[in-house]
């Protein structure tokens, strides 16, 4: 086994078993906020216990180890084909070790060959940069939260949502209302305003590479993020949809250009089991640093 494969297996293990510090901190803060003796508080206590147990046992936080999304920032001349082959093998090995569930199904036959490798699985997003460093970030996104994602095309008469920021706000909050607890809240929203349908969803997912306490450098989007977060937490949906104060842990929004004829708002929902981790690699493929502490 080469160093890169070993590093990627370790990245998968840690992503699956250990939640990043910023997410854990957000969950602990919400635990303090919930009223004592409520089922919302019980739910968050079990979640907190689960986070500790998964880390201690080095086992998946959630049995749905999710879509496997690799985001690779690499230098010019980087061999993406070789990387993908090694990463696919790392996924096979990580599945055998139980860091990933046998979680990938042939959409036509319904067969699950138990490897997690097949057409479109795992997924790679390569970005070249003018630096010698290779950074590999991994997001594991479960199906429950993926299923409550939503894409709106504005204007939307039913929501009285026009083609402006207020319309975007209405669409995003409707997604929160419709999701209720089904996406394993408290959740984190990744939102993209604009783009074509596919690109818009793609950018909404990339928002999950941001950390919870970070602030949007665009003042308008920052304002919208804070507003949606505050409003969603006034709706009383609560952890797991049990009712309570914490419906969302974070909201991350980006905007990209659109066609004059299109105005999409794409909302991706991430469950509390927000599995995101990353490594920087040396030229041999060994882990130098962890991206999220």
């Amino acid at each position: 086994m080469n160093a890169l494969q070993e590093s990627l297996i370790e990245l998968i293990r840690r992503t699956s078993a250990e939640i990043p510090g910023d997410v854990h901190q957000a969950i602990l803060s919400s635990l303090e906020q919930e009223k004592k003796g409520t089922i919302a508080e019980s739910a968050l206590k079990i979640i907190d216990r689960n986070i500790a147990l998964a880390k201690q046992k080095s086992q998946p936080i959630c049995q749905d180890t999710g879509s496997i999304l690799f985001y690779v920032d690499c230098p010019v001349g980087f061999d993406q084909i070789a990387f993908s082959e090694t990463a696919r093998e790392a996924v096979r090995q990580a599945t055998k070790k139980g860091f990933l569930r046998q979680n990938s199904v042939d959409s036509l036959t319904g067969k699950n060959d138990g490897t997690n490798v097949g057409p479109g699985a795992p997924t790679f997003h390569f970005h070249q940069h003018r630096s010698e460093e290779t950074q590999v970030r991994l997001v594991l996104k479960g199906g429950g939260c993926e299923n409550v994602g939503a894409q709106y095309s504005l204007p939307n008469e039913k929501l009285k949502a026009n083609r402006d920021l207020d319309g975007c706000r209405k669409a995003i909050l409707d997604a929160v209302l419709q999701a209720q607890g089904k996406g394993c809240g408290p959740g984190i929203l990744g939102v993209c305003i604009g783009g074509d349908r596919a690109t818009s969803y793609e950018f909404s997912k990339q928002q999950f590479l941001r950390t919870i306490p970070d602030r949007n450098p665009n003042p308008e989007l920052d304002h919208l993020e804070q507003d949606v977060m505050r409003t969603a937490n006034e709706l009383g949906i609560g952890p797991m949809g049990f009712g309570g104060k914490t419906t969302l842990l974070g909201v991350k929004i980006c905007a990209i250009n659109r066609l004059p004829a299109s105005f999409f708002v794409s909302v991706s929902y991430m469950c509390w089991a927000y599995r995101r981790q990353g490594v920087t690699l040396d030229t041999e493929g060994r882990i130098q640093n962890w991206v999220y502490v």
């Binding site: 089922i39 019980s42 739910a43 079990i46 979640i47 216990r49 689960n50 147990l53 998964a54 046992k57 086992q59 998946p60 936080i61 959630c62 049995q63 749905d64 180890t65 139980g98 569930r101 046998q102 979680n103 199904v105 319904g110 067969k111 699950n112 138990g114 479960g142 199906g143 429950g144 299923n147 929501l159 009285k160 706000r169 209405k170 909050l173 409707d174 209302l177 209720q180 607890g181 089904k182 394993c184 409003t231 006034e234 709706l235 009383g236 949906i237 609560g238 797991m240 949809g241 049990f242 009712g243 469950c271 509390w272 089991a273």
Partner: protein
Amino acid sequence: MISLTTPFTEAKIRALKVGDEVEITGVLFTGRDAVHKYLHDGGALPPGVSLRDSILYHCGPVVLKDEAGRWKVVAAGPTTSAREEPYQGAIIKQFGLRAVIGKGGMGERTLAACKEAGCVYLHAIGGAAQVLAECIKSVRNVYFMEEFGSPEAIWELEVERFPVVVTMDSHGQSLHREVFAASEAALAKRT
């Protein structure tokens, strides 16, 4: 906290109300998308398996074999129940289920079947795969492994103090319906 032991009786289930926290000790069966569709389409349970007075858990666990060849459940949280809404009511009535465990809640047809047949919907904490796997003391059997694959198979599991919340009871009450209505009204005031 209410402690319940399987097999259940109608009286024990009728005594439960929305919002009750319950710990279950005994046996439960997993079943998710493939199992629901199969049973609903007239498929038979494997010989010797009965769901009468027992629990169906919407779960696709991660299960590994240890060195001695014994199954070990390493992660076992609930999956989203809403997908089983087209099948659940009929399955509750036909197979005599007393409880369904899952996450996210279910709809009106399941709620009506719970009321009619004396069944409840119990909400486990979504994503809490490790806490819940710790409550699984042994794997008694697995069925349909070849046909459906590991996550979709029926796993017969022995559990101890498995924590759940009653979110749909056998009296027509649903926490999911309540929270949706309240949150919808709250949002209407804010948009």
